[in-house]
Symmetry: C2
Subunit: 219 residues, 2 copies
């Protein structure tokens, strides 16, 4: 897959060696993460909120109630920034100074568009359902016309994009390696526990395999 | 602990029932989460980036290289917004429409100040180390004067703050409860795996208990 052009906006400034601009890395992070953080500006003031996302081809999708202030604001063509972050580990160095995190993150900038056609909206809702739990779309009750109307979908082209990735052990100052201090990485991952059936669920209905054996991509 | 005043800025608009304005809820989320997402505005354009945070009393602390664009920008008194998000589960409803997430999130707004005194800076670095792994500060090699100089710390008063929390089973339309569709919650949590020693670590040095038995608060 091709690379994103490096511009003043998406260039990784701090720790440039951690920057990645290839679609495979960026899309892998977007697809594995469940939620993103969306930043927008109203009256010069920034706001950032968490929300579920999905990806369809080269667009990041956001959705929510038609009345959502954030969705209305970005649907009006106002600039937005989106960050998607996966935590992979705590990096415990010998020195406090060199402590770090292993992580994979993506930052996007751009302008969203409101998805208007019913067909594209349904495809987007399928992408959200499948992003959350692959296999869920066909099992669940499909959106009604009323529900579709109540939902807004925004598509943000994934164009101004960069990933930032840290992996591997701590990097300490040469003279610190002799110190009698434990150093290493404590891996972290978002894991699923045992499914909790809805108290109102008919006990004859068994847990689907995509819930029972749930895993995020790549995790 | 007291409540934060509800203003136009921190009021939870979407799903107001999920809003919480008490310090215990807000601080519990801040203290459990490892990272936050910081939004700021440069030339009218929003940017959001992930970074580690810590809390000292009623301030959120951010830190990084003195040369960090984000830290320099917010140290100059520009407004910022910070979101902190914990994912607790995937809520699988019978209808696609009522799918949701269980989560606990905090959104803050305000203006940071650069921490200038050495004493306060060291206390902040202790807070970061202890936020990441309680017990780490006394074990690790303390910051040198040079390292302290190379690090900026920003303190954001936790004043304009709100938490948003969803818990519990899916809520479906009355007529959907009869559908033969599995519904429930798949719990999610950030878990630590087995510590990976630095390849350069002396094998006589054992893993500290706070790494071996690592847990986030409340998890």
């Amino acid at each position: 897959m091709s690379n994103f052009p490096i511009t003043n906006t998406n260039k990784v400034r701090r720790m440039p060696k951690r920057g990645h601009y290839d679609r495979a890395t960026v899309y892998g992070i977007i697809d594995e993460a469940l939620v993103c953080h969306v930043a927008f500006v109203i009256d010069g003031m920034p706001t950032v909120i968490p929300t579920l996302h999905a990806r369809r081809d080269d667009e990041l999708l956001l959705h929510g109630a038609r009345t959502s202030r954030m969705l209305q604001h970005v649907a009006a063509g106002n600039p937005m920034s989106v960050a998607i972050t996966l935590l992979d580990g705590i990096v415990l160095a010998r020195s406090v100074f060199h402590h770090s995190m292993n992580y994979r993150s993506v930052v996007l900038h751009g302008t969203g568009r409101l998805v208007e056609s019913t067909e594209e909206k349904v495809a987007a809702l399928e992408a959200f359902a499948e992003h959350v739990a692959r296999g869920r779309w066909v099992d669940a009750r499909q959106p009604s016309r009323k529900e579709l109307k109540a939902t807004s979908v925004i598509a943000l082209p994934i164009e101004v994009a960069a990933a930032k990735v840290r992996t591997g052990p701590p990097l300490d100052e040469d003279e610190d390696y002799a110190l009698p201090i434990w150093a290493g990485v404590l891996p972290l991952s978002l894991r699923a526990g045992n499914a909790i059936p809805d108290p109102r669920l008919d006990s004859d209905i068994t847990v689907p395999a995509y819930v029972r054996k749930y895993r995020r991509l790549g995790s």
